[in-house]
């Protein structure tokens, strides 16, 4: 069965203290190739029928309504993963 993968990220307005703490850990361990970490989340939706463009669009609608608070977060990607 196919899955739809929804990636959610905090908007810049959100402080993301978790990402900040991870950035500091990178610095402590001498990883100076990176200077900003943002932590988002991934939701995997198993599709009951066929995965097509209309199911993907429906997933996007659901993601906007429920998965994110549009004031604080945005959907960074929605992809279909065939098994």
């Amino acid at each position: 069965m196919a899955k739809i993968i929804v990636n959610v990220m905090p908007k810049p307005v959100l402080l993301d203290p978790q990402g900040k703490a991870i950035s500091q850990a990178l610095e402590r361990t001498g990883n100076f190739d990176f200077n900003d970490v943002r932590v988002g989340k991934t939701l995997e939706l198993t599709v009951t029928g066929d995965a097509n463009e209309s199911v993907r669009a429906r997933a996007e609608e659901v993601a906007r309504e429920l998965f994110i608070n549009q004031e604080l977060e945005y959907i960074s990607s929605i992809t279909i993963e065939e098994n």
């Binding site: 307005v13 959100l14 402080l15 203290p17 998965f67 004031e71 604080l72």
Partner: protein, 226 residues
Amino acid sequence: MRVGVVNFPGTLDNRDVIRALNIAELTPVEIWHQERNLEKIDALILPGGKSYGDYLRPGALAKTAPIMAAVIEKAKSGLPILGIGNGFQILLEAGLLAGGLAINHNQQFIRRDAEVIVANNNTAWTSRFDRDESIVLPTRNTHGAFTAEAKTLERIEAEGLVALRYENPIGKQSDIAGVSNAKGNVVGLMPHPEFAVEPGFGPDTKDRMRSGVDGLRFFTSLLLNN
């Protein structure tokens, strides 16, 4: 006056709200989240707690509860609705108030007796206060940092929708402690008025330990609206 108190799975402060309503000489009516009817209710309170375990985001899952369709409809028709703590988060998630509540800057639960200013006394829940009156209310939360995009914040300030401000906001967090909708019937508060209603059991004030009862007037404000 019958005031509905909505219980979601994980609501914690419902009994404290009921106690406050009794002290304010209002009639509390418990409402289960699976109900769909809000007839014969004159005002509504969404208490604090951790509805649905704060999964996804605080308030995000509660907005899908069966009762919420009626809550949204009643909010639009002008019924006084107060959300406290998690109840505030539910009202934000349901789109009845503008903005969002993010995790505290230190990612921790913060509990303190906060000095707050009543920035707007022209709402259903703040009419017993003077404008810019300084009061003390207990606050306790993990997701209490009011956050919104710049354009939303500008609109909230321009339309005078800030109901309460912290006198001493924590760290770099916003000073917004409560907001209302444009009509003033829907109000969300991060501090907890229901824990400041009875001498001896309230927050510390400058005068005496645990003597704070400023919270009571949020509830008795309802009686002024009629």
